[in-house]
């Protein structure tokens, strides 16, 4: 008896492990596409909608006949906001499920976690979120913004007459790599524009911080010293308490505008925006952009959300990372068509210089060398209805500088992708 039970226990564990190893969905003649976004844990708040957007785009491509005559088949996994699990799931997608491309990741740490796996196995990852730069892997295509495509234009706008001609800058962020790096770049940029050290203040809060009383009081104090703008790299959930405190302490956008790099339409869904009118965000796309491509894109998304009965479908919104996901999948499909194969090396070549008429109203180009998109930069003001109205935009798409010239030593980095090892 004892023996049999022991054996049972061990075989149970072993078989469960084995199931994990060999879990594949067999289907003939499809191209498999991996989707690596957290559906549970802290990042689910942001990443769930990217998964849905990816599925919608894949459906759309399939409805048009697929790629190279084959249907796309999505393999969705949940890395559960657990960074080592990203690497494990990435490896699983590439080696067990044998997907040809992966769309996924939100946080930099998740990308950094899977990067060695993609480089080792020569996989292909499309990363759709704005980030701090300082990376250029041949196995990753970055469809979000590099700092010069978001942060620097935003500050230039704040310096302009229309942006309020700010003289002092309060750099507020959550204490982690993206805000630190972005603020480092911004500080160098501000100083190069003649802003004095004493007119720049950098403040960080811990992850998940929810009490902004002291910080808002400090912003007020700081702003008494001259026209001030706040540049916020506050992460996700902390934005709501920050903006609520800002509004309730009577700090208005006309006095001290806040420009945020991590607040988009999705985030505003959770905030009462009436007191926030006039605060700013910098992105490469806003749902409110008016052009036929975007109108169709937004309508398609709303219809999809309703059809799939996604939570909160009646209030479905699009945002920048969703657009970047949409663009990324479409560009990849075009490149596969062009290359005639899904082989990574050939698709990579085909992607260079690939163009796509994006919902942002611009025809975006994948750079010929640096794996980043040329993107327009837009500054939007928060409106009462939770949308942004674009108050400023670049005249044409901007080429990314993943190696920011404002960081020492980057001038020696090559302007093409090389494996990190």
């Amino acid at each position: 008896m004892q023996r049999r039970n022991l054996i049972k226990a061990f075989t149970l564990t072993a078989s469960i492990a084995a199931m994990g190893m060999t879990w594949t969905v067999q289907a003939a003649e499809t191209i498999k596409v991996g989707i690596l976004h957290s559906l549970s844990g802290t990042m689910a708040i942001s990443e769930t909608s990217l998964k849905d957007m990816a599925l919608m785009t894949i459906d759309e491509i399939n409805a048009k006949g697929g790629v190279n005559g084959k249907q796309l088949e999505a393999v969705v996994v949940d890395p559960a906001s657990n960074w080592p699990l990203f690497a494990e799931k990435g490896r699983q997608l590439l080696t067990q499920d044998k997907v040809d491309v992966v769309f996924g990741c939100w946080t930099s740490v998740s990308r950094k976690s899977v990067l060695p796996v993609f480089e080792e196995l020569n996989g292909l990852l499309f990363y759709p979120v704005q980030y701090e730069g300082e990376e250029m892997s041949p196995n990753v295509f970055y469809t979000g913004a590099a700092p010069n495509q978001q942060a620097i234009p935003a500050v230039e706008y704040l310096m302009s007459e229309d942006g309020g001609a700010a003289k002092r800058y309060f750099l507020l962020g959550t204490d982690y790599v993206y805000p630190r790096t972005t603020n480092k770049i911004l500080r160098a940029f501000l100083i190069s524009k003649g802003v004095a050290e004493k007119d720049i203040e950098e403040v960080y809060t811990p992850f998940g911080h929810s009490d902004y009383q002291t910080i808002v009081a400090n912003i007020k104090k700081f702003s008494a010293g001259g026209k001030t703008a706040v540049i916020s790299t506050v992460n996700g959930d902390s934005n709501v308490p920050f903006y609520k405190e800002l509004a309730n302490q009577g700090l208005e956008a006309t006095d001290v505008p806040v420009v945020a790099f991590s607040v988009g339409e999705e985030e505003l869904r959770g905030i009462d925006t009436k007191p926030l009118v006039g605060h700013l965000a910098a992105w490469n796309y806003f749902q409110s952009v008016e052009n036929p491509v975007n109108t169709e894109f937004v309508a398609k998304w709303k219809a999809y959300a309703k059809a799939k009965n996604l939570p909160g479908a009646d209030k479905a919104v699009t945002n920048d990372p969703m657009e970047a996901t949409y663009v990324g999948i479409n560009m990849w499909a075009q490149a596969v068509e062009k290359a005639g194969t899904t082989e990574v090396d050939k698709v990579r070549e085909a992607l260079y210089g690939q163009t796509f008429a994006a919902p942002s109203g611009y025809t975006l180009t994948m750079d010929k060398t640096n794996h980043h998109l040329h993107k327009p930069v837009m500054i939007g003001e928060i409106q009462e209805d939770g949308q942004f109205s674009v108050v400023w935009e670049t005249s044409s798409p901007v080429r990314a500088q993943p190696w920011s010239p404002f960081i020492e030593g980057n001038d020696k980095k090559p302007d093409y992708a090389v494996k990190s090892n």
Binding site: Q2, R3, M19, G20, M21, W83, T95, P116, E120, F207
Partner: protein, 362 residues
């Protein structure tokens, strides 16, 4: 508490079955684990080839098994539920990570430092390019922290829930500290992109096989250590401590020393597990210190059956195996399954899976 809990499953099994049978099962599992890295060296088209994915997955689970075992030593035997063992695990991992980052950086600074324009290494990084010193750190960092924390905690007789909450606060503080970029451990990104270990390519099949073997050896060694401890008078004193600390003191035993010894030992085991985990999964970052991870480790132990040596291993294997499977099979619903599992186990299997097996066998 009507059953003696200090007897190991193996001991009980051998009492009933004779040592050969349980020995045989153990050896079988061991043989499979030892064969896996060798099979990994076979060419990929061989039918018996074990993929890198399977090897790293099982390797990771084995590291978790060591953590579960270490936690069981303090919880199951000494009655100290730590909700902060992730901290020790992560510290060991960070110590190894420092070495790997130095190795990857060559003569320069680790990548994350150079892009923050740091010009020199913080003092605590000195010597980390030396593998032996890194190994010392793997033991010393968690060991010393556990020693200091344990010394004060046990001196003031903090126990039960208080102890659990304090360890949770400790790991939470550690997480916040390591999250900061300025702390000098790569902030929230932690360490990734390792290249070589002792000069060997970290992605090569041979390196993977050796790391896996090292994990198996460490697991077997910790099992043996646990087994010896549980059978020694020391083990009986711990059990006595768990059940009636005051009585034990009036017998003339100083519980502080006993608690401190097992506590530090457990922390060091976790650190070692962390050190083996990092090169296998390829990343270490502060989220390993999040209280959630440590609670999960307690769940492994409870699920498998605490106060036994095999139970925690079963628990860690089951939960992580299920996690790997569910996150693919039912990505949106796996938390329900996990949640129900915890409830069901605590309600119906108070002695864990091991208890269930025992009950069936008797």
């Amino acid at each position: 508490m009507t059953m003696p809990m200090n007897q190991t499953l193996l001991a009980r099994a051998s009492a009933k079955l004779g040592p050969q049978a349980s020995m045989a099962i153990g050896l079988l599992v061991l043989a499979v684990l030892l064969a896996m890295p060798l099979l990994h060296l076979l060419p990929a088209d061989n039918a018996l080839h074990v993929s890198a994915y399977s090897l790293t997955l099982v390797g990771k689970i084995l590291c978790y098994c060591i953590v579960a075992l270490a936690l069981d030593l303090v919880w199951g035997y000494a009655g100290l539920l730590s909700l902060g063992h992730g901290l020790f695990f992560a510290l060991g991992g960070y110590a190894m990570g420092m070495y790997l980052m130095r190795e990857a950086a060559g003569d320069g600074l680790p990548a994350f430092m150079s892009f923050l324009a740091w010009t020199e290494l913080p003092w605590y990084w000195y010597g980390t390019s030396n593998f032996l010193w890194a190994l010392c750190l793997v033991v010393l960092a968690p060991g010393l922290l556990a020693l200091v924390f344990g010394f004060f905690a046990f001196r003031s007789r903090i126990k039960g829930v208080y102890f659990s909450i304090m360890t949770q606060a400790l790991t939470f503080a550690g997480m916040l500290l390591f999250f900061r970029n300025e702390t000098g451990f790569g902030g929230n990104n932690g360490f990734t992109n390792f290249r070589t270990i002792l000069g060997f390519d970290i992605t090569s099949a041979h390196t993977r096989a050796v790391l896996f073997l090292a994990t198996v050896v460490l697991l077997v060694a910790s099992l043996y250590l646990g087994w010896r401890l549980a059978r020694s008078k020391f083990g009986r004193v711990l059990t006595a401590l768990r059940d009636a600390e005051n009585r034990l003191m009036f017998c003339g035993y100083d519980p502080r020393g006993y608690k401190l010894f097992i506590w530090v030992l457990s922390a060091v085991l976790c650190g070692l597990a962390g050190a083996l985990y990092v090169p296998q999964v390829g990343i270490i970052n502060p989220s390993e210190m999040s209280p959630t991870n440590s609670i999960e480790a307690a769940v492994w132990v409870a699920l498998g059956g605490r106060g036994t040596l095999i139970g925690p291993l079963l628990g860690a294997g089951l939960v992580n195996g299920m996690k790997s499977w569910f996150t693919v099979a039912f990505p949106e619903y796996w938390l329900f399954a996990l949640g129900f599992l915890f409830i069901v186990v605590t309600l119906f299997l108070p002695k864990g899976v091991i208890g269930l097996l025992r009950r069936k066998s008797s």
